[in-house]
């Protein structure tokens, strides 16, 4: 597994939390249906978090727990506040009310760097790629592997290109030119680059905001497999999606937001696919739709 020999290259000397994962051993790879409310301490935890944008209340009183070795799905209508929620987790926004705990201690991230340093990697809905930069530079942006001593520290360019190319190939994207600027890629290709990067660097918590929205069935499959693999490797995953099928395929726990508040919060064991679909579609709507359009 080539992904493994990059640990030494991490730019920041942040705590590499590979061994010290709280509860990691207990959860590793196992299926633990309804036990997460008790058991191990959560990696991330929001208590009564709220966020206002000027006069718009995007979130209010949200409680959330993120555990190692499990996939938490966040679902909800458009504008329900999902992206806002994960931006708080990622350190991009500060909550206007409530507390944010990482490993049980309260934090106030002032930049995503700090979240990254604590092992929280995020794929944003609006991607956070730099359009004019080549794919491989985007891939390593913020965590560039370097060689040589100061002041002659230089990038390991050859390695960066090769790794980026290889990681993208693994996700089924073979770019004709790894030097092409990201702006030249199709919408889905961009998404895959962002995901591949987060997965490659994902340390303890991987946050994905609608990663499969722009993807084809094949690429979606690859992402879902990654989510599963990450979970099995002991990572915590926060997975946001509109697709209840996708959510149900990988999720261990489901949080449904509605108008900025938590409407439903249930482990997988308490929720069947149909319930989920119903919740997301606003009750009987989907049935009606299926029926109405069914031919």
């Amino acid at each position: 597994m080539t992904g493994n020999d990059r640990g030494a290259d991490r730019a920041d000397g942040a705590a590499a939390p590979d061994t010290a994962q709280p509860g990691g051993a207990a959860l590793d790879g196992a299926e633990q249906g309804g036990t997460e409310q008790g058991g191990a301490a959560p990696l991330l935890r929001l208590i009564g978090a709220g966020k206002d944008f000027g006069n718009i209340r995007a979130l209010s009183g949200v409680d959330l727990e993120v555990h190692a070795g499990r996939v938490g799905c966040v679902l909800g209508d458009n504008g329900a506040g999902k992206s806002t929620l994960i931006k708080i987790l990622a350190g991009l926004h500060r909550p206007t009310s409530g507390t944010y705990l990482v490993d049980g201690e309260p934090v106030e991230f002032s930049s995503p760097r700090e979240a990254l340093d604590r092992g929280i990697a995020t794929v944003y809905q609006d991607l956070a790629l730099v359009p004019l930069m080549p794919v491989w530079r985007n891939f390593f942006l913020g965590s560039e592997p370097r060689a040589g001593f100061w002041p002659l520290t230089r990038l390991r360019v050859a390695e960066m290109r090769a790794t980026a190319d290889a990681e993208l190939k693994k996700m089924g994207i073979d770019l004709p030119d790894i030097d092409a600027p990201v702006a030249d890629l199709s919408g889905g290709q961009k998404q895959v680059v962002a995901i591949a990067r987060a997965v490659y660097f994902g340390a303890r918590v991987l946050i994905l905001d609608e990663p499969t929205a722009a993807l084809g069935v094949k690429q979606s499959g690859v992402v879902l497999r990654y989510v599963r693999a990450a979970r099995d490797a002991g990572l915590a995953v926060v997975f946001i999606t509109h697709n209840p099928h996708h959510a149900h395929m990988v999720g261990d726990h489901f949080t449904v937001l509605r108008l900025g508040e938590v409407e439903l919060d249930a482990p997988r064991s308490e929720l069947a696919l149909d319930d989920l679909v119903h919740h997301m579609a606003g009750g009987a709507e989907l049935d009606a739709l299926e029926h109405e359009l069914g031919r």
Binding site: R113, L141, M171, D177, K218
Partner: protein, 353 residues
């Protein structure tokens, strides 16, 4: 031993055949500075044909000197522009640095090198303040640096007047260290039988160095990133504020260097009212050389070519003996020609910017 998940076997690894690897020539042609290089070559040919004195080595040396005085600053300005900002105070900051060297040396009876050190600190401070105000207030660089430009312009004159009682600094030509300062910043060295001003060599050195930084270091990666998408860069953990402040300080460094050249070349006397308008020339050099005004794209080599185009046009008109009243018109027309050729060429080459 990173905790990355075990990768599932790539399910679909069939080769995408449609688009071949990019042919090397195409790739070369897509480089930001190639269009301006073509423009430079065309201009060179024009003057070579039109002006007989232009063909001598000495003339080339003069052209290169004129280019280098713009070009050294253009290195810093191009880096800043790639990082998404620009600096209208760069022109007067050069004069500020020059004045600071002259006045501290004279007033405190310092060795000129010591004065140069103080001046460097000041120039870096100006850059730092530019950057800090920008980052803190979130104002566009046009506004911040325009304010600083106006303030520096006023300070240059007012402080000089206050300190020396006149609006130019006093001569430091006979002070300790001036000769070695002059040797470093404003001497001539023979190159292939022609006397070439030392600023030309510095210019080439700085261009090479900045190119290396841009393309082969993490700092360079970050510069492109903050210019291309500051939000994106911040989200992946690039310290955007630090990078921007650093870039403004880099411009400060080059302003100091250019200021040292000014004072060394003028025998230690600096007029306080100069420098206004030069900031546009630096930006022009960078943009002609293919840097995008909006940031995230461009090279320092391009900026050097842009500075060369400017120097060549300005002096070439003199060599060609064209009517001097028209000089501005020619400079404008050449600029337009150069950038049109540049953009035409770039669109031919298949890039889409």
């Amino acid at each position: 031993m990173g905790p990355a998940p075990a990768l599932p076997a790539p399910g679909a690894s069939e080769k995408e055949l449609r688009a071949g690897r990019v042919p090397p020539l195409r790739r070369l042609a897509a480089r930001p500075e190639l269009g301006s290089l073509l423009g430079a070559v065309v201009l060179f040919a024009v003057f070579f044909a039109a002006a007989e004195p232009f063909r001598q080595a000495g003339s080339l040396a003069t052209v290169l000197y004129a280019a280098s005085t713009i070009g050294i600053m253009a290195v810093g300005v191009a880096l800043l522009m790639i990082g998404g900002e620009f600096d209208l105070s760069a022109g007067v900051a050069v004069v500020t640095a020059s004045l600071a060297t002259g006045m501290t040396a004279y007033q405190f009876n310092l060795n000129v090198w010591a004065a140069a050190g103080i001046s460097l600190a000041l120039a870096l401070l100006i850059g730092f303040l530019n950057g800090l105000i920008l980052v803190r207030t979130g104002l566009p660089s046009f506004l911040v640096t325009l304010s600083v430009f106006l303030m520096l312009q006023g300070l240059n004159i007012a402080v000089t007047k206050l300190v020396t009682g006149s609006v130019s600094s006093r001569s430091i030509a006979d002070m300790d260290g001036f000769d070695s300062v002059r040797a470093v910043f404003a001497s001539s060295v023979p190159v292939l039988g022609t006397e070439v001003r030392i600023t030309v060599l510095w210019w080439l050195l700085f261009t090479a160095l900045a190119t290396w930084v841009l393309l082969r270091t993490r700092a360079g990666n970050w510069i492109y990133a903050v210019g291309g998408s500051a939000d994106g860069a911040r989200a992946v953990g690039v310290p955007v504020a630090k990078v921007k402040i650093g870039l403004f300080m880099t411009v400060g460094f080059f302003a100091w260097f250019s200021g040292m050249h000014l004072i060394a070349a003028s025998g230690g006397v600096q007029q306080s009212g100069e420098g206004v308008g030069n900031e546009l020339l630096y930006i022009m050099a960078a943009v002609v050389g293919g840097c995008l005004l909006t940031g995230g794209y461009g090279t320092v080599v391009g900026a050097a070519i842009g500075a060369f185009i400017y120097g060549m046009t300005k002096q070439g008109i003199v060599y060609a003996g064209w009517d001097n009243n028209w000089v501005m018109f020619f400079v404008g027309a050449m600029l337009l020609l150069a950038v049109v050729v540049n953009s035409w060429f770039r669109s031919r080459a298949g890039g889409r910017r």
